[in-house]
Every structure is written in structure tokens, then in C-alpha cells.
């Protein structure tokens, strides 16, 4: 007997996300036609941060591990590429491999200590590890220390250098789409279900026979590795490696993107990254004291919406369709039950 599934239906937020991806895919065309190369740079930044946010969402949203130090892995990606090219290794594949290896290693090491704690202590210990690496990089004067260092040469994939803006953009776009799709599969897979359920009730999962620690650690490591890739792209965008990439405010920005977009939703990090960066740019253009507006705006969104932008969309959709949903009713989405 195979029970019937609830009917599949594209939700509003999924449709909007697809529309957004299509718009993003057209940015290079626009940039070329309108002679606005800056638009491409901005959009690349959005894609890269969206990728990092997707990786953070995996542990923050689905696994319920509030990491306040995720910028660490962004920074590791940046510095692995930076240091390798400093020593004349600009082979992109090698850099990618090294980034993945380093992030996995650091993730496994710090994760296995951090995962012993939970709640606020977890928030703090992830922050502490990020700070430790921050200070470590600051003291490496050979690689620029606090001042950072210019990327000696862009990563090269065969004959293709990532310093080509359009190539970089393409790579970021493809990787983001892949990450989104991968995340969707992952969350509904056996592994994903275990990770989500461990967030809801870890003790019960143990009683069911799951060694939860290793599943959560694996999720943490996967997330670290994906974020490392974002770092690798980022250093090619800015052509510069700086310890400030792994400062705690960057971690805060990433959290803001995930939460404002909608935690534990597939599309949330994408909306979050796009929204945050665009609003920031727009406010900056308006006033020097943009943060006086930006800060309260964050507070306002947090208060008004429990599920971030995606939550607002779903609420609107529910009202429009006249079905129960939105805040108040328990949302199965967080369990990975959405858009099966």
C-alpha cells in the first residue's frame, strides 16, 4: 500500500524564485546592452552571497544549528585561493579541491567541538572559532595580515580565467542553481529528514536509534564546504583577500539574509540575499546615514514576519487562495514537506 501524496502545486514563492533566477540569468545581457558593467559586478556579488546563504540555511534553517561564525568558511575559501595564487598556483581545479578539503577539515574539527553544545552556547562557540581564525589571519603578516592581500592571479580553469566578469558570473549562477537543487534533494532525502528531525527533538532521535551527532556534523561540514566555494568565487570577484571577510559582522549579514529571506525554506536565502544587497545599495545611494533606516527595517521585518519574506509570500498566497496557512498554523515546510 502506497498512500497518496497531497497534490503537488507550485507555490508562489517557488514561482517567484524561478522568475528571479531568470532575471538574474539575463543580467549579463542587460549589462552588455546598456553598457552597465557595474550591474554585472553587483549581480555577481548577489549570486555569491546567495550561495553562501544557501549553505548557511542548510545548518541554520534545516538543522537548527545557529552558527554565528559562518563567515569563517567564506574567509577560508578566500584565503585558500589567495594563498595558493600567492605561491603561483592558479589552477582553479586544484584551488577548488584545496578549498573543499580545508573547509571540510576545519568544519569537522570545530564542528565536533561546537556540536557538543546547543542553543546560545552554540551561537557563541561558532562565533569564537570564527574570531580565532580571524585573529590568526590577522597575524599572518606574510599574507598581508590585517591589510589583506591582492589576489596575485585569478583562478584558471584550463584556459578560462575567472577574472573574466562574464565567466565568473556564469560560474556563480550555475553553482547557485546547483546548490539550490542539491539542497532541495538533500532536505527530502533520508539524510535530510534525519537532520531536520534532530533539530525538532534530538533526544527522541537518539531513542529511535540515530547517532545524531554524526549526521549533524556531516550537515555542518557540507555547509562549510559549499560556503568555501562561495569564498573561492568571491576572491575572484574582489581580486582581494581580507580578514574582514570573516569578521563577525559578515556572519551577521549572512544570518540576516537567511532569516529575512525565510529560514528552512528553499528559496528564502535567495530572496534574502537579493533583498538585503539591493536595499543596502539603494539606501546607501540615498543617504550617508543609511544604517539608521536599514537597522529598524530589519527589526520591522523580523517583527512582522515569522518566516521572513517567504513567510509573507505564503501568507499572502494563503489569504488569496482562501486556505489556512501562513503564520499561526504549524507549517510543515520546515520539516521539508514543501513542494514534494
Amino acid at each position: 500500500m502506497m498512500p497518496t501524496h497531497p497534490r503537488r502545486r507550485w507555490s508562489l514563492d517557488a514561482l517567484l524564485a524561478i522568475a528571479l533566477l531568470i532575471v538574474l540569468a539575463l543580467v549579463p545581457v542587460y549589462a552588455a546592452l546598456a553598457a552597465q558593467p557595474f550591474a554585472l559586478t553587483l549581480a555577481t556579488r548577489i549570486l555569491i552571497f546567495a550561495l553562501a546563504a544557501v549553505s548557511l540555511n542548510l545548518i541554520l534553517g534545516y538543522a537548527g544549528l545557529v552558527s554565528f561564525g559562518h563567515a569563517l568558511y567564506l574567509g577560508l575559501g578566500v584565503y585558500v585561493a589567495g594563498i595558493m595564487s600567492f605561491h603561483g598556483i592558479d589552477n582553479g581545479w586544484l584551488q577548488l579541491l584545496a578549498t573543499l578539503a580545508v573547509c571540510a577539515l576545519v568544519g569537522a574539527l570545530t564542528g565536533s567541538i561546537a556540536l557538543r553544545t546547543s542553543g546560545i552556547a552554540f551561537i557563541m562557540i561558532t562565533l569564537a572559532f570564527a574570531q580565532m581564525f580571524f585573529f590568526l589571519i590577522v597575524s599572518l603578516s606574510r599574507y598581508g595580515g590585517d591589510d589583506g592581500m591582492t589576489l596575485a592571479a585569478a583562478s584558471r580553469y584550463g584556459t578560462l580565467p575567472l577574472s573574466d566578469a562574464r565567466l565568473l558570473y556564469g560560474a556563480a549562477f550555475v553553482l547557485l542553481c546547483a546548490a539550490l537543487y542539491g539542497c532541495r534533494r538533500l532536505v527530502h532525502s533520508r539524510f535530510g529528514q534525519v537532520v531536520c528531525a534532530s533539530r525538532l527533538n534530538e533526544r527522541r532521535m537518539k531513542a529511535l536509534g540515530y547517532p545524531t551527532f554524526r549526521y549533524r556534523l556531516t550537515a555542518y561540514v557540507i555547509s562549510a564546504m559549499v560556503c568555501g566555494i562561495a569564498g573561492l568565487l568571491y576572491v575572484n570577484l574582489t581580486q582581494f583577500a581580507s580578514p574582514s571577510y570573516m569578521s563577525w559582522t559578515t556572519s551577521g549579514d549572512l544570518i540576516a539574509m537567511v532569516v529575512l529571506g525565510g529560514m528552512a525554506t528553499l528559496t528564502g536565502p535567495l530572496f534574502g540575499a537579493v533583498g538585503m544587497i539591493l536595499v543596502e545599495e539603494w539606501l546607501k545611494a540615498m543617504t550617508q546615514h543609511w544604517m539608521v533606516i536599514f537597522g529598524p527595517l530589519i527589526v520591522l521585518i523580523v517583527i512582522l514576519s515569522r518566516q521572513g519574506l517567504v513567510g509573507l509570500l505564503r501568507g499572502a498566497e494563503a489569504r488569496w487562495r482562501g486556505t489556512p496557512g501562513g503564520p499561526g498554523s504549524a507549517s510543515p515546510s520546515a520539516a521539508g514537506g514543501e513542494t514534494q
Binding site: 502506497m2 497531497p6 528531525a197 537518539k206 540515530y210 510543515p332 514537506g337
Partner: protein, 254 residues
């Protein structure tokens, strides 16, 4: 009485909280297929005992053997995979998951490791089917896709049982499964447990004496962490010490 024939045998189990001895050199044997009830006043140490059997609390002394194996120091998740399944006194499920997903988690736990990253679980019949069957068995067949948060208290208790069953357990540790149920539902649950009886070893902790007397093969009475009596129903009912310490008038045949 001891020996390999016992599914579970506990010897001189000891647990202290500061000055309080919650489990005091406690012995217990559960035969395969036996329903063994544990009763006793509040704070006697029943939940503490169950938690030690399940592996959530580490005893300070004594031994626990399951199916001839010493599991005294074994971790919770290993015990669960051996077939030791427990339910909680306070309902403990995954509120944001649907009923089906909850039960599928149990099934999944017993199908090897879960480092499988790609196929959606809802498209894996080897998970969905046993889960749906278990739900059917406890009477939740129509609630498969209801998020658990929307289930009533009693239904959540039923779900709790379905989760236990889906794991192909060999010994059930049930801590007050009737708690918070109305009489009719208690009766349903009693019937359900009756239908399971004989297939699994069951350790039942319960204050609902109607249920205990309807179900138990043997009863152990726990007072201040110590077993003061152990035997078949009639023997326990008749025991004046038990009546004094625990039953009061309720044990009178009605």
C-alpha cells in the same frame, strides 16, 4: 528465575541523586512475550528505571542484560537498534512533521545508515509502507498527512505507539501510555496493547489500574526505588503492603 531465557534481566541496579536513592538494588526479569507492569507511588523511581533501561540515564551500579547481552554501558541509539524501544511519559514526537513522516523516521532508523542524500523519502516504498501500516494499526490510518501539531493529545499518544511499532521492536518500554486519555480512549489503547501482547516483551508503567489489571502478566511494585513485591495480578492485589503503599481502595474488585 534468571538465565538466558529472559529477554531482559536487570540485576542490582542502583541510581542515586545526591542523598536520594532513586533505584535501590533493583532486580527485574522480563520473559519474551511477557507484559510486565511496574507500578508504584509517585516518585518511586519508575521513570528513572525506564530511562536507565533505555540508556538515557547511566546507572551508578548493577547490570542490565538484553537478550543475553550486557548492555549496561551501551548508548541509547545502539540499544534502540537492538530492538529496545521506548515511549515517553510526556508526548515526544516531531510536531512539524506529518504523522507519516514521524513513523517513517522509525522505519528508516532500522534500515541501515542514513547517509543517503538524494532520493526523497516519500518516494521510497520501503519506508512509506511499513509506516503507513503501523499508523493503520493504531487507528491513525486517516491522518497520515496531518502535521502532528494538529493532532489531538490522544492521537499523539497513538502516534507515539505507532512510532514504537514501526521499528520492529523486541521489547517495548512504555511509560504511562494512557496518561491524559479519556476513558474510552484508554480502553482503545488497552485493546491495542492486548492485541500486541505476546508478540513483544513489554514493560509497562501505568497508574491506570484498570489497564494494568487487564493487561499484565506480572506486576512489580516499586516503592522508594525498591521492589517490594513481584508476582501475578491476584497476588499483588491481595498484598496488604502494596495496598497500603499504593493502591488504597481502588484495588478492590469492582
Amino acid at each position: 528465575m534468571a538465565g538466558a531465557a529472559n529477554l531482559l534481566s536487570v540485576r542490582r541496579l542502583l541510581k542515586r541523586y545526591g542523598g536520594l536513592v532513586a533505584t535501590d538494588h533493583f532486580d527485574l526479569d522480563v520473559r519474551p512475550g511477557e507484559l510486565h507492569a511496574i507500578i508504584g507511588p509517585n516518585g518511586a523511581g519508575k521513570s528513572t528505571l525506564i530511562a536507565q533501561l533505555a540508556g538515557e540515564i547511566r546507572p551508578d551500579g548493577g547490570s542490565i542484560h538484553f537478550d543475553g547481552r550486557d548492555i549496561t554501558g551501551m548508548r541509547v541509539e545502539r540499544r534502540a537498534l537492538l530492538g529496545l524501544a521506548r515511549s515517553y511519559q510526556i508526548t515526544s514526537v516531531f510536531p512539524e512533521f506529518t504523522a507519516l513522516q514521524n513513523v517513517m523516521l522509525t522505519a528508516q532508523a532500522h534500515q541501515g545508515h542514513s547517509f543517503r542524500f538524494w532520493t526523497p523519502t516519500l518516494r521510497q516504498p520501503e519506508l512509506v509502507e511499513p509506516a503507513a501500516q503501523a499508523l493503520e494499526r493504531v487507528g491513525l490510518g486517516s491522518r497520515l498527512h496531518t502535521p502532528v501539531a494538529d493532532l489531538a493529545h490522544g492521537e499523539q499518544r497513538q502516534l507515539e505507539l505507532a512510532m514504537v511499532l514501526a521499528g520492529k521492536p523486541r521489547l517495548l518500554l512504555l511509560d504511562e501510555p494512557m496518561a491524559g486519555m479519556s476513558q474510552s480512549e484508554s480502553r482503545l489503547m488497552t485493546d491495542l496493547l492486548l492485541s500486541l501482547k505476546g508478540q513483544y516483551g513489554i514493560v509497562l508503567v501505568e497508574h491506570d489500574m484498570d489497564a494494568v489489571f487487564a493487561l499484565a502478566d506480572r506486576i512489580t511494585v516499586l516503592v522508594y526505588g525498591r521492589a517490594i513485591a513481584c508476582g501475578p495480578i491476584e497476588e499483588i492485589r491481595a498484598n496488604p503492603e502494596v495496598r497500603n503503599a499504593y493502591l488504597g481502595d481502588e484495588a478492590m474488585p469492582s
